[in-house]
Amino acid sequence: MGGWSIAVHGGAGVDPNLPLQRQEAAKQLLTRCLNLGISALRSSLSAIDVVEHVVRELETDPLFNSGRGAALTEKGTVEMEASIMDGPKRRCGAVSGLTTVKNPISLARLVMDKSPHSYLAFSGAEEFAKQQGVELVDNDYFITEENLGMLKLAKEANTIMFDYRIPLIGLETCGAGAAMESPIQMNGLPISVYAPE
């Protein structure tokens, strides 16, 4: 039996021109979350408790696309989703379409532990959140100035984009301009509109 190990991620598909200070901020957040998980593992918390604990931290920090700092819908609102799974008995919980739950991953955990189901979505999930007494906030809490700017760029380029932390200039490299280059389709859209996350 090996010892414990942990891995975290903040999204795949990074703009090659991401400013250095953004890269540094991302590395600091990843390091902070790793250390949070490591001290929990050293205190013998179970794997399922550690993953929930670490993802809560990532949701609370606005840097990555989840919780506060989540990507915006075409209407400029936030709809979040999450899932959690415990290996030993393959128990799992998932939620979608959340607009007021501060930490979606903890509601997914409650779906796993406190409901007879494995997945709740939209109004049903919000109802369950109220019953379970989890922390609720206004949808505005999740919306950041930066993401409002990103949404504006995405609309101007008429693209659906992953959470692409790009500087305010240079969208054409991954927006409509890139669409002409690649004929490959994904679900009926040019592959390049799906700018990697």
């Binding site: 090996g2 010892g3 414990w4 190990s5 942990i6 891995a7 975290v8 991620h9 903040g10 999204g11 795949a12 598909g13 990074v14 090659p16 991401l18 979350c33 790793l34 998980g37 593992l41 013998s44 918390l45 794997a47 399922i48 550690v50 993953v51 670490v54 993802v55 949701e59 990555f64 696309n65 989840s66 990507a71 915006l72 819908t73 075409e74 609102t77 709809e79 979040m80 989703e81 999450a82 899932s83 959690i84 799974m85 415990d86 290996g87 030993p88 799992c92 998932a94 939620v95 997945y119 979505a121 999740f142 949404l151 995405a154 659906i160 992953f162 994904m186 799906y194 990697p196 996350e197």
Partner: protein, 131 residues
């Protein structure tokens, strides 16, 4: 999208993934992150969390496939991650992190960069973005 995978000192694996989805997405759109077996999976053998083009991850049942090739093809964790990234995504772009019940940690991605960090009990620790 953010994610965390852990194997504790008793060999129990767990995975968690959370996201806001796509910028400018249609309201009501569901991606891979909440779908067990696509964006998130954990069993006795391993735990996996994925990120990237949700539609490609869903079609490839990416997270479950890592466990499946370990189980049925006898691949080790990093081999399984590399195999699935290479053979299950078609033209999609994605990344993933994974741990095994033997205390191994692995990650892989076929796009430009992935924000990730990993650590093991014997002192290894790495935080990276690019290759």
């Amino acid at each position: 999208t953010v994610g965390c995978v852990v194997v504790d000192s008793q060999g129990r694996c767990a995975a968690a993934t959370s996201t806001g989805g796509l910028m400018n997405k249609m309201s009501g759109r569901i991606g891979d992150s909440p779908l067990i077996g696509s964006g998130t999976y954990a069993c006795d053998l391993c735990a996996v969390s994925c990120t990237g083009e949700g539609e490609a991850i869903i079609r490839g049942t990416l997270a479950r496939d890592v466990a499946a090739v370990m189980e049925y093809k006898g691949l080790q964790l990093q081999e399984a991650v590399d195999y699935v990234i290479k053979h299950r995504l078609d033209d999609g772009k994605a990344g993933m992190i994974a741990v095994s019940n033997k205390g191994e940690v692995a990650y892989g991605f076929n796009c430009v960069g992935m924000f990730r960090g990993c650590a093991t009990e014997d002192g290894f620790m790495e935080v990276g973005i690019w290759e």
